[in-house]
């Protein structure tokens, strides 16, 4: 009982503390009424059906990219290469889409998704593999791989895969309107949102109810014990990293197939980095990723309104996210200590 209360109370406390700190910053530095700002943020994020759709649309890619950090963290690895996997996944999807342009739509979309997931999976598995075989720190290697991935994307999009008619914005050939992923009927939000939610639920089920999930938890808790038990740690590392990378790669495919119709530099707009934030805020729990993505999507959605109504710079939203992150991290320390005073008293 206490545990459940804790799991709600601590993040709530962190959220409150962040809200207060951000409000102070607004009031003192930007001379903006924090309550007005928060009211606007609510309006922009959740105040109307239009706002909700904006929020959900922004949350969709985050749900998938967050899994790229959440999955390997089960095993104790800290991967932050989400952006790289997304970007390369998008390029792979676009390439596949062009190759499959004459194939029936569902097959083509499947092909694109598989290509993207394979590409993203391999990219992150690389970081995991380097960790296992060469002891290279996966946080740093996944980050370096991100930079390399973005450079590769630019190279391919402007070079070998370039569509010559995409003059002033170099892009790959279009995958064609027929193969684009549509929107959920009745809304403006594309199916990528459903992909993300389904993926999170799937991950939760696997982690909670299968032996694989259990094995990963053991490895994450104590790798030495796991090895002594005969668990092939290396294999699980590759699987977890590969799966996480596949999720981020799928996000890239969704960007190509549901939004742009082709791959270009607009793939690298920070969805991957926001995914890292989401995963940490959700404490790497797959089900928690969904509401946290919606929260961050909402913050992002309200940014435009803050700019236009209160003349705040775009960076205001970034600062809020940073404060949130730090507050949630610091609040980790409260777990197990909140109720102690009651006991000793």
């Amino acid at each position: 009982m206490e545990q459940v209360l804790e799991r709600i109370a601590v993040p709530a406390l962190a959220l409150l503390a962040s809200a207060v700190m951000f409000g102070l910053l607004l009031a003192i530095y930007a001379r903006v009424d924090p309550l007005e700002a928060y009211a606007l943020m609510y309006q922009g994020a959740f105040g109307s059906w239009f706002s909700w759709q904006n929020t959900l649309l922004r949350a969709a890619p985050l749900i998938l990219t967050a899994l790229c950090t959440a999955l390997p963290s089960r095993l104790g690895l800290m991967i932050i290469g989400n952006e790289g996997a997304l970007v390369l996944g998008g390029v792979a999807a676009a390439a596949a889409g062009v190759a499959l342009v004459n194939v029936p739509t569902l097959l083509a979309q499947l092909g694109m998704a598989l290509a993207a997931m394979a590409m993203g999976g391999v990219w992150i598995a690389l970081a995991g593999g380097l960790r296992q075989r060469r002891g290279v720190n996966e946080t740093i290697s996944s980050l370096l791989l991100t930079y390399i991935a973005i450079a590769l994307m630019n190279h391919f999009v402007e070079g070998p895969l370039r569509d010559p008619s995409s003059l002033n914005k170099p892009s790959t050939f279009p995958i064609g309107d027929a193969h684009m992923i549509g929107t959920i009927p009745g809304t403006d939000v594309h199916w990528g949102l459903v992909f993300g939610v389904a993926a999170c639920v799937l991950v939760y089920v696997v982690q909670r109810f299968t032996t694989w999930g259990f094995a990963m938890r053991v490895i994450g808790g104590n790798p030495k014990t796991a090895r002594m038990m005969g668990l092939d740690v290396g294999r699980y590392v590759l699987i977890a990293c590969g799966a996480g990378g596949a999720a981020a790669g799928l996000a890239g495919m969704v960007e190509v197939a549901a939004v742009h119709g082709r791959a270009n530099a607009s793939l690298a707009v920070g969805y991957g980095y926001s995914g890292i934030l989401v995963s940490f805020l959700a404490r790497h729990h797959p089900l928690a990723i969904i509401p946290v993505s919606i929260l961050l999507g909402g913050i992002g959605a309200s940014g435009g309104l803050l700019q236009r109504r209160l003349d705040l710079p775009d960076a205001a939203v970034v600062v809020l996210q940073g404060i949130l992150f730090v507050a949630i991290l610091a609040s980790e320390t409260l777990y197990g200590r909140l109720w102690k005073r009651k006991e000793t008293a």
Partner: protein, 369 residues
């Protein structure tokens, strides 16, 4: 254009009088016209976005208008939602998404969803029949201004080596590099332009490095086509060489070395469109203009420009204004040796073939791929 201005002034006076006496004369005069601007980068970048923002600031001072702006909007669903938000929550009826990447698919999607709202895109290639009528594009032939900048550069350079820091080898950038070089070559046929591509629109460290490595090669006049020329200008000034600006006036950043610059004059374009909206009709769908139409301008000459250079540049400007000078004419060879414009052919600045330029002229050191 002039007619629109007269009509505009009358409409302005009318609405001012109406507001002063609280009369409801023409209903339009009371309700402000809400215009939305969307920038892809920060609006004070001393470059591309600032040029638009400065024009928007001028619009803000006009009565009967309400301007809403959003900056740093990425070229993804975010811009679609920003536009929708401006339409639904702010009541905008005219939108200016100013970055090239907003056009397809984002602006087109929004235009289809909001047929009563006018969308005008900066730099897009609007085509009648292909794109809806409530969209359109506007752009300036800034390569005319770069040509003049090239003339000044060619006259001032002592080493005969010019430098151009560019972001990506897209046609709009290549036109600028070529016009600059051709202008300089009209003064000194042996002039060369070193073109370095940084790979993206805003990479300050790369831009500084590019400028410095060009200086190490002996370049003494440098210009650029990146989102924010601030770094290039300042690096050039510190090294004591000359520079030529772009997007907006950067003379404050390089008081000694600033020769001239190619600037946008967006306020002309925007006020024109606002007049149209106020008069109740949609603005033009395909607006293009150069020096003559006032869409672009050159910066005032800096102190380092010699009187002889000023004369030459002014003469060239007059020639362009009168329509007597074609920048792109045959026989023109690219820097790989191919003839790209046949002898005897001469292109007007509006020639559509130029919009897909993919070569660098002879004399430019650099490659498009």
């Amino acid at each position: 254009m002039i007619d629109k201005f007269k009509l505009g002034r009358r409409a302005l006076l009318g609405s001012a009088a109406g507001a002063a006496f609280g009369l409801t004369g023409a209903a339009n005069a009371q309700k402000p016209l809400v215009i939305g601007f969307i920038y892809v980068g920060p609006r004070d970048d001393y470059g591309y976005n600032q040029a638009h923002a400065e024009a928007a600031a001028i619009l803000k001072k006009m009565p009967g208008l309400k301007i809403v702006e959003e900056e740093k909007v990425p070229e993804t669903v975010a811009v679609e939602k920003s536009m929708e938000s401006m339409i639904n929550l702010d009541g905008a009826t005219l939108l200016f998404p100013t970055s090239f990447g907003y056009f397809d698919p984002h602006m087109l999607k929004e235009a289809a969803k909001n047929p009563k709202i006018q969308f005008r895109h900066c730099g897009g290639l609007w085509q009648e029949g292909k794109h809806p009528m409530n969209t359109g594009s506007y752009f300036g032939y800034i390569d005319e201004a770069q040509y003049i900048a090239g003339v000044v550069a060619g006259s001032t350079s002592k080493s005969g080596k010019l430098g151009f820091v560019a972001a990506k080898p897209i046609p709009q950038v290549l036109r600028n590099i070529n016009a600059f070089t051709l202008g300089a070559q009209s003064i000194n046929p042996k002039v060369t332009t070193q073109a370095i591509f940084t790979g993206d629109w805003a990479l300050p460290v790369k831009e500084a490095e590019a400028t410095n490595s060009m200086i190490a090669q002996g370049v003494d006049v440098v210009t650029c086509h990146v989102d924010s020329p601030k770094v290039v200008m300042e690096t050039a000034e510190r090294a004591g060489i000359f520079c030529s600006g772009y997007h907006c006036n950067q003379s404050k950043l390089a008081p000694k070395g600033y020769l001239t610059g190619a600037e946008w004059n967006w306020e002309k374009v925007y006020t024109g469109m606002v007049e149209d909206m106020k008069a109740g009709k949609a603005p033009g769908n395909f607006l293009r203009g150069g020096l003559k139409e006032g869409f672009v301008r050159t910066s005032a000459y800096g102190p380092a420009v010699s009187p002889a250079a000023r004369e030459k540049a002014d003469a060239v400007k007059t020639a362009i204004l009168s329509g007597g000078l074609a920048i792109y004419k045959g026989a023109l060879k690219d820097n790989k040796g191919n003839t790209v414009i046949a002898a005897g052919t001469s292109y007007a600045i509006t020639e559509p073939k130029l919009e897909s330029m993919n070569y660098l002229v002879e004399g430019v050191i650099g490659s498009t791929s």
